[in-house]
Amino acid sequence: MSVLGSLWPFVRLGLTDVWRHKTRSFLTMLGMVFGVGSVIAMLAVGEGASQQALEAIKRLGSQNIMVMSVKPTSEERGNSGSQRGQLAVYGIKYDDETRIRETVPGVVMTVPARMTRRNARLGERQLELRVVETIPAWFDVVQRPVLAGRVLTEHDMRERANVCVLTEHGVRRLLAAEEMIGQRIRIASGLFEVVGIVKNETGGTVRAPDSEADAYIPIITGTKLFGEANIRYSAGGMEGERVELSQIIVKMKDTAAVEPGSKAIEALLARFHKKVDYKIDVPLTLLREAERTKRTYNIVLGAIAGISLLVGGIGIMNIMLASVTERTKEIGIRRAIGARRSRIVIQFLINTCVLSIGGGIVGLLVGLAIPLLITLFTAMPTVVQPYSLVLAFGISVGIGIVFGLYPAMRAAALDPIEALRHE
């Protein structure tokens, strides 16, 4: 005879028992519902967040090294001075780029860029645009899907052409509803023809250097028209800084070259810069860190979900203990008829599992619904992992067995004579 056939009457008994105590069973199951639901939902949210972060880092390129200019802290600024009204001079230079390209082993390409804010005008609309002055190779190193037109070219560089590529974001800020390609916008003192529109990078904890850019122009055109100073006039007077390059993206030949490369760049810059007015970011390291963070994240979330499952399990155990007392006589009858202790244990375990699996299934649905709602209302990405569903089911069965065992053993340990006499 099949094992399933001999268990089925007990499963049915468990189901009828659950049905007979609807309210009690429902309340007991709630613990499991929330426990299992939170496991799935938390894993989905955690996975969504980390996948987004990893995605962003990967887009920065795992074989790239980012070298950035940073304003030195006031103590370090020393007597080179940047009181109000004066020009702060700091940061990485073209010379640094050349040195890196020519001396650091394993460098494939270096891409310089200058991030500035320039007043711009399109028709009646006037606003400050965030402009990235760079070379065409930028678009090889940082992937930006082209929505219309083209990106910058070597031809633009040779011609020192007054052309610009807008981002989706920039287009929106300029309120340019009509076709933008071919239109001219004024950026500071120059008139630029829009040649292309690219997609922005969206959200995420790790940002690309151009994540909030509005426009790209050839760096050579920028130097020709604006020089290297970025001067802003404010109520107090003039505030400005002179930064040759805001950023160099160094592309290495492979990921193995990244770490020694970043050390070499660090040493190189330290030799030529008196102050620490630069910063080196390695996406690969960030990637590793993000993966570590993800692990920590999962452990914390897992612990929280584990606690709620524990609470759910204790609730079930509590109810099962009550049920054992309630059914003492039935246990006595079954034992008198000739049921071994182990059969009583199995009967009560099945009963507990019916409760925990029932709660687990509802919890599964809740766990699927919560990430959907989160994504719907907060636009936060969530990824329900198929394994988490299997995990949730496994957990329900596990909880049923672990927390059902004690009440079941208590039931089986009853003396049949005493149990029969119980009223």
């Binding site: 005879m1 001999s6 009858i333 008198a336 008829i337 000739g338 049921a339 202790r341 004579i417």
Partner: protein, 241 residues
């Protein structure tokens, strides 16, 4: 008295029940209560016995021992060829399952199961398949005259009907002994007569029936009788039929 070191004599093949100097002592506080203090008798296959005695005579202890729910402190109890005194809990359970059919004073049906499911319980533990269980339960219900109530719950039945279900359940494992404990204690006299007639019928079909009771008119249905008093056999009346 059992002489230690010697094996008690094995029962003859036709002795379905045999007790040799069965003692059952309890320790209550510091005091030893001798509920049974050396009881010996044997019951032949296919006979109809009553076990009588006033309360405090050791009747309940006798029932527990005969029903393999308890083991003798001393002495041997053979039921259908197996010595209960040597068995562990699982063996005792299996022995009950294969050899005994219980009928209780207060029926002891499982309230959340239907009549049919109650009758099926022993077969479930014996490992019978679903269709076989169903089929046998139906024929047993037929035999005790409760076939029209198979889908009902015990709470929907009268006392007499419940006891019929209990008898059907007790027969479900084809037991060597049908053991009834005050089977009419919760029934009115008319119903009692019907239930006792059912036992008579089963006896005539060849079942071994043991009824434990304190009522002499119930004991009168049996063909033989053991009377207990103060944990000892006071008298044995045999061979009326």
């Amino acid at each position: 008295m059992i002489v230690r070191g010697t094996e008690p004599p094995r029962p003859r093949a036709d002795e379905v029940v045999r007790l040799d100097g069965v003692k059952r002592h309890y320790l209550v506080g510091d005091e030893v209560v001798r509920a049974l203090d050396g009881v010996s008798f044997s019951i032949r296959r296919g006979s109809y016995w009553a076990i009588m005695g006033p309360s405090g005579s050791g009747k309940s202890t006798m029932l527990n021992i005969l029903g393999c729910l308890d083991r003798p402190t001393e002495g041997a109890y053979w039921l259908n060829g197996g010595n209960v005194a040597d068995m562990d809990d699982d063996e005792l359970s299996d022995h009950r399952l294969r050899n005994l059919g219980f009928v209780f004073q207060s029926f002891h049906l499982i309230p959340q199961l239907t009549v049919c499911e109650n009758i099926e319980v022993p077969m479930l533990y014996l490992g019978l398949g679903q269709s076989e269980r169903r089929h046998k339960a139906e024929s047993l219900a037929e035999r005790v005259g409760i076939a029209h109530r198979l889908r009902h719950l015990p709470s929907e039945l009268s006392g007499g009907q419940r006891q019929r279900v209990a008898v059907a359940r007790a027969l479900a494992n084809d037991p060597a002994v049908l053991l009834a404990d005050e089977p009419t204690g919760n029934l009115d006299s008319a119903t009692s007569v019907q239930i006792m007639a059912l036992f008579q019928e089963l006896y005539e079909q060849g079942k071994t029936v043991i009824v434990v009771t304190h009522e002499s008119d119930i004991a009168a249905y049996a063909k033989a009788c053991v009377v207990l008093k103060d944990g000892l056999v006071q008298s044995v009346r045999e061979g009326v039929s």
